[in-house]
Structures are given as C-alpha cells and as structure tokens.
Symmetry: C2
Subunit: 497 residues, 2 copies
C-alpha cells in the first residue's frame, strides 16, 4: 500500500507585519476611541463606517498600466469567471474612502458634511520594529465648508480630544501653519519653475531635522549630512533662499508678533496675505472660545504635510519628555495631524469641494499615556474574581457565587479547568491578574463560611514578609457565606485606592 | 500637437456586495457591541483583537493544489520579489483566528482561556439583497475547559447579552441540543457506513424546513419538494428511521420529560447517554443560577450546526413576530448560535483542545430591534443644535454660543456652509435632524436676545396647523441671550419625553 502523504501542520503565525492585541491593550484602545468619538459627536460630526474594501480605481494613487496594482496597498483581482474582474484593495487611510463616500452619496448628505470615522487601515509596506501593516486611525473631517471657521473648529476639537483621553493642559500644543503663506513665500522668491518649487517644498520638509542652517545649505549648494554623504542643494542664491528661512523662523513672542513677521515675509504676495489673514482669523476664533496660545498656536515651523495640504495645516504635539529606547530623554512629539485639502472629491466629480480634517494616531496616543504610566493602575486591577472549585459536584453552588458577585457589579468567574490540582487554580488566578480568590470546601460549607484570599495584598506580602508574617496569612479571611459579596467589595475598594 | 489622453474619472462606488454605514447605524451598532462586550468582560472573558489578515495556511479550509485559493475568502499573494510570497486572506470569521492565536500564544495565555472578540469579517460570496460581503461578528469562546459548565456559562451569558441590548425576557429563548445525543441515535440505528451517516446528518439539517414527516420521507424513499422536484431519499427502512424522528420530536412538557424522551431514544448507546447527561447537567447549572426554561431550554429540534459541532449546540431565537417583506407575520428567528468544537486547535498543535463558544449576529439583532421600533426615538433626537450665521463677521460670537451649549452637555454646531441664503441654513438643520436652531441677527444682538426655533415642535405644527396657528409661530421663542442654554435644555427635555 502506498504511504499516505501527510499534510504538514499549518504554522500558527500572524502574517509578517501583523500582530494581535490582548486584554487591556484592546479595552484601553476601545475606551480611547469611544471618548474621542463622544467629542466628535458632541461637535456635530456624524459617524461613518465605510467599507474596508474599496476598488483600486476609487482609492486612486495607482498607475493604470501596472499589471498588479499592489504598491502600498493590499490588492487582489475579483474572480468573475470569464471577464477580468475589478481590482479591489484594503483602504490605506480613512480620507480616500471619505472622498468616495461623499461623491457617491452627496445627494443624501447634508452640506457641509461633518463626519467622523475610526477603524483599522492597512499599508503594504515593509514591516519594521514597532511598524505594523494594520493600525487604527480616528478621523474627523468637514466637507463643503470653505470658511476657515471649519479649520478653527477642528483645532479646538482636537485640543478637547487630547484632554478627554488624559493629556493634561500644558502637556500638548496644537500648532497651526498655512500652505498659502508658503505659496506666498515662493511667489515672493520669484520661483516659477515647478521643479524648483517642488525641490524647495521637499527641503522645507527637512526643517524638523536639519534646522534653519541646514535648510539654508540645502536651498543653496548642498550639505554634508550626519552619515558623511553630501546632499546636493537646490542651487538658489543665498538672498533668494532668505524668504524661506524668514518664513520658517517667523515665530514671535506672541501670536501678534508671529503674524507681523509672516506679513513681512510675504509682503507683495496676494496669496501670502490671504494665508496670513486666515491664520489671524483662526487665532481669533479659537481665542474667542477660550483656547489660548498655550493650547493652539500659530507656528510657521510646522512643515509636516505642508506639501500635501492646500490651506491651513495643523499638528498636535505632546510636549513632555519621555525616555526613548536608548534611555535618552526626548519630546514625545506628534500624535495627530491634519489640514485643508480641496482636490480629493474633484477626482470623482470634476468639481472642487473644500474639505478639512484631522487624523488622530490612536496607537501613538496610547503609547504616550503608557510612557507616563497612565492607565497602568486600571490594567493591574482588571482581572476577575476567581471562585475556585473544591468539589466538582458542587459546580452549581460555585456558579451561584459568581452570579451574586456579578449582580453586585463585580467581574467574576468560576474556575473551569481541571480542578484536581488546587495549586493550578491559584496559578490561574495569578495569571489572570485576579484581585481575589474565593474558596469553599466541605469544611467551609458545613460551617456556612467561605475563605477569601486577597491576592493583591498577598503578592505584596510575598514580596516583603518574613516567614512568621507569611504564616499568619493575613491576606486570607474567613467570612460567613452571606457576607461574601460585601467583603469582596471591601477588598476591591481597598486595593483600588 | 498630439491630443492629450484624458484619464477617465474614477467611479465613486463601493465594490459589489459592500456598503457604507451612516450616523445612527454606526452609533447604534457601536453601542450594542459595547454593551455585549461589557457582559462578556463581566463574566471574566478577556478582549482579543486579532489581525484582520491571516495566512491562508492558518485559516485552513483550502486545497493546497489550487493555484489561487480564494474560494470563499478574499486572498492575495505577498509580493516578495524573487521567491513566491505567502498567500494572505481576510478572516472569514473570528473562530479560525482564535485557534491560530491560541496555538501561537498558548504559553502566555491562561488555561482555560476565555476570550471575546468583535469586528468585521469578510466572505467572498455572491452578494444578494441584504447579504453583504463584510459584516460584524461578536464572539465569546472558552478554550481548554472540558466541563459542560463552560457551555452552561455561555448560555447564561448569551441570555444576559440579549436582555442587555433590549430584548425583553419572554421575547427570546436560548435552545440547547447536543451532538452526542444524535451520535447515540445513529449508533442505536446501527448506521456504520460513514456515507449514510453523513446523509442522515444532512437530512436532519432540513428538519427546520420540512418537519418530521418530511424528514421521515427523506430518510426513506424520498420526497417531492415544493418546487415539484423529487428529492431522492437516504433509503432507510421506516423502522430504522424512527429513532431519528424520536430524537427530533422528543421535546416534552418540561425539561425532565424531554430528558426522559431523549434517554429512551438513545437507550443502549454509551455516547448517547453521555450526551443526555451533559444536557441534564447544563439544565441544572443554569436553573441553579435562576435561568428557567422560559430563557434557556433543552430542545432536540435545534439542528443548525449539529453537523459541525462535537458536543452541546446552542441557538438564540427571538420569539416575537415581525412582518416580513411580503407583509406576512413570521417569527424573527435566530440571532446567535454556537457550540462545542474540539478540533480547531489540533490542526496546529496535533493536540485536541476542548473549546466552546458563541457568535452573536449583531446586524440581525439590530434589525430585530429596528423591526420593533426600538432605538428609533434616540435616532430621531440625535441631531445637533444648529447655531445659524446671520452675520459672517460675527463667527466668533456664534462659536462662543456652541461652546456654551457643548459645555452644558448639548450636542451643538455652528453652520459652516455659505450663510447667504438663510433658507439653506434651516434646510440643513432639517437634514441633520436638528431639534433646535438658534438665530441671532443684528436686531437680536442689539436687544441682547436670541431667537430659538423648536424644530421638532415646528415639524409637528407644520403637519397639522392651520394658517393662523402657523403664523403665530409658537415654535419660535425669543429669550435673553444669557438664558439661551437653559431654554434649549428645556426644549430638549420636552421633545425627548
């Protein structure tokens, strides 16, 4: 008889660049998304849950002649029998789908359309440490509102969101810049050539890293970078480059001074003046609502996304310091960004529709809170009370106990593994992070009592107690059966404080 | 000059079989998922958010020799340059990923592992009316607990979940059956041939539709179905088929009677007796926790999934009647199902691991609540208060108004479209389902008052008022500016009642 071919066992692994999230990682993210959604909703934004799968055509960004359009996205072709099917792909952000949704449903949607959305997005990129190919975004956008009042509203809402999830006032700042001011600068410089303009934009994007002097060099002849490589410059004369530097470094002592510096930097440009007016209007609107420059400030050094957006640009930064992987102190940095973009809907309809929005990086925000130790306390106390099983035949009694505990609002469960080895039950409670274990054997039942083990206190004692103290087991109490719930509640209240 | 080739505009459409969800559709589902998660968590289940993308190998169910393994799932091949990449796919349920997660992380997970998960799953199926290729599941499973106490716990939890989301006691029942009892029946029948056993299983799955007499015919010679087609039978003698009928119709006046009937039906089979013992134990456990047969009942006529599961099987059914598309009354039917399965983890590790779980069909449950008119009231009152713009230059004042309203816990926004046409502002408020609009023009400002328009009352009046009543405009009030928030709150309290 032929030897039967054995199918090898499948590997139990996530695909490269994907991961799973467990327990408190999930509930903390869900709580954060819910808190942000509540703010968005309160501001009049409506929820949208668009399909995770889009046609590649609707997502755009892909060359029509590429056989397999999967650069950057996860894409596949529909199998429709004879004729070639559509190419579909997972969304890579929440903005491209919004443009599609608005173009598709605009007759039924109000104008302006304020919407919020949250959920996973997928990027087909090389994964790296801490870089995953699936992550969460949490966006709010306003479509069809040309006024910068819409931008101001989003900045104020962003500040509210950060405070709601636990970032204290003073620990963040929403910085606002404007692409139109930069366009004004380019106009003043007399840069007509699109290639040169693009090169200047790319250079400005490096301001974060190389500073004013670095940008000056890169706009001119070039620069030796930290790795020793020489980066060719744009080739502008030093006088011609000055307006860019003036723009980037125009932040003054207060908003009025900054705006005055910007006006000087774009003197003579209509577009530039318009951009400065917009920033002034945004500053006035948020100030009228009580958001001072300590929370929302005009800052021309914000360059991230300046090339992508068409008007105001905003970025939320956390200003406190954390220790990085190398133990070095550094500012935590950006956790949200956005701005005004006017061309996304036009792709579909041919008509430009003004739009502005923000995207909050929920995973980064969670990391920031974790780095400050916030949220750790709840996570530690989050395990269920475990009712142990001393006599398998009395399962119904143990179930009644967890029923009572749950009815009192206490997270509780009965041990459902093999109860033979009692040590395993306590190990299980430990692994679950249980604050309390309940024990009721035959003796206890006969006496009408239960044993209650305070596992949080027990762990503390185990760390520091002497043998004598340990033997006294002050972390275990015997209470009448009908006082079980009250005693557990008392212990939980104590360990939470 | 050659004519430039114009790229055609992309179509603004979801892919076939996908859809978007708006506003209350999203928030009601989110609220339902959150309510169910709270119950799961309360029972000691831990959250798991596994990757939406899995390797096809880990998902299983696919033939290794198929070039493109996309039957039933959305799959694509990783692009890894020279060597052929892994096939990846979107998860089609939450159970297959759980098996992979457990096999991958079992050293770090407690045993038993209780986990809950919720999120979209994707099926590459032919879309139809009301059938979508992306939908939500909401599951709870216990891995590593051989005792049927785990199954009983899930049945009780399922009942709690239904009541929490708004299904009244009496409007649902969780029915429980057991595959082992059925196996006992097949043993008693002396059916050794696997082909015949499978044919009997498939026939039993039709009991829902064809009833006892239909099953009797299909187990025998065959049956003329409603369409006029003749369906060949399994070919059993009528005496041989009787135990199956006895099993399916063994429901008695109470649990004890049902169990007695089942014991008779499987008399002589060890497996069958074990199955009846398990049902008896489940009934006793849930009864001890106060779940009577009006909520959780042993019902041998539950056949859905009986072929798939290996032990207890449960199904939650809504028992109230709704009107279907044809205006006919019918029972709403199943909204959740689950059972015990022991082989999923074995695929990865070679070791059988007991597991049991339930999946709640959130979209069906939402449809059920909608069919009863539940949740409609909140949806109607969910629009924001709209502060209209009478003078564009006074945007900061209007923003201050919405700021005050929000601070009082009231959802509010300023109109951000072009304010020129005031009628458009009210049309907008109408489209948003706004309960109230605020108006403050130059006259009002000078007098220190605002106009408050009760749009809910206004709509009611518009429906039924005479011209005289309409002219009196009793749905519009003038109040001092500093009483705006109080008056709005009063109107909202009135229209909610």
């Amino acid at each position: 008889m032929a030897k039967q071919k054995k199918t090898p066992r499948p590997k139990a692994q996530t695909p490269k660049g994907f991961r799973d999230y467990f327990g408190a990682e999930v509930t903390r993210r869900a709580a954060m998304l819910e808190a942000i959604a509540r703010i968005y909703h309160h501001y009049g934004f409506d929820a949208l849950d668009s399909s995770a799968v889009e046609t590649v055509e609707a997502l755009g960004k892909f060359l029509p002649d590429v056989e397999r359009p999967n650069a950057g996205v996860f894409a596949w072709q529909e199998d429709e029998g004879e004729k070639p099917g559509d190419w579909l792909a997972l969304r890579y952000d929440l903005t491209a789908p919004l443009a599609r949704v608005y173009a598709q449903h605009k007759e039924d949607l109000p104008t302006p359309y304020r919407r919020y959305a949250m959920g996973p997005v997928w990027r087909n990129e090389k994964p790296g440490p801490g870089r995953f190919r699936q992550f969460y975004q949490c966006d709010a956008d306003t479509i069809g509102a040309p006024s910068v009042a819409a931008d101001a509203e989003i900045c104020a809402m962003l500040a509210d969101c950060l405070e709601t999830v636990g970032i204290a006032r003073g620990d963040y700042v929403v910085r606002v810049n404007n692409r139109k001011v930069l366009n004004g600068v380019l106009e003043v410089m007399g840069l007509e050539d699109q290639g040169q303009r693009d090169a200047v934009l790319r250079t400005i994007d490096k301001f974060d890293k190389v500073g004013a002097e670095g940008v000056r060099q890169l706009l001119g002849k070039g620069r030796l970078d930290a790795s020793g490589a020489y980066i060719d410059g744009v080739g502008l004369g030093s006088a011609q480059a000055e307006p860019v530097i003036a723009f980037l470094t125009s932040k003054g002592a207060d908003t009025a001074a900054t705006l005055a510096n910007l006006r000087a930097a774009v003197a003579g440009s209509q577009t530039g003046a318009e951009g400065v007016d917009e920033l002034e209007e945004i500053a006035a609107l948020v100030a009228a609502q009580g958001y001072g420059a300590d929370r929302i400030e005009i800052d021309p050094s914000v360059v991230r996304g300046l090339g992508y957006y068409t008007g105001p640009v905003f970025e939320a930064e956390l200003t406190f310091e954390i220790l990085d992987e190398d133990g070095q102190k550094r500012q935590f940095g950006s956790v949200a960004g956005g701005g005004r973009y006017d061309d996304l809907v036009k792709r579909f309809t041919g008509q430009a529709v003004p739009a502005t929005g923000v995207s909050i990086g929920v995973d980064r925000l969670l990391a920031a809170l974790a780095a400050r130790g916030q949220g750790a306390a709840e996570a530690a106390a989050a395990g269920p009370v475990v009712v142990t099983v001393m006599d398998r035949a009395r399962m119904a009694d143990y179930q009644a106990m967890v029923g009572e505990l749950r009815a009192a609002g206490i997270r509780a469960e009965v041990y459902l593994g093999n109860p033979k080895n009692f040590g395993n039950q306590l190990k299980y409670a430990d692994k679950r992070g249980s604050p309390v274990a309940i024990i009721e054997g035959a003796d206890e039942q006969a006496a009408g009592v239960v044993q209650i083990k305070d596992l949080v206190l027990g762990a503390r004692i185990a760390e520091s107690a002497t043998l004598e103290e340990w033997k006294e087991r002050p972390s275990q109490f015997e209470v009448p059966r009908d006082q079980m719930v009250a005693k557990v509640r008392e212990i939980l209240a104590g360990s939470a404080s």
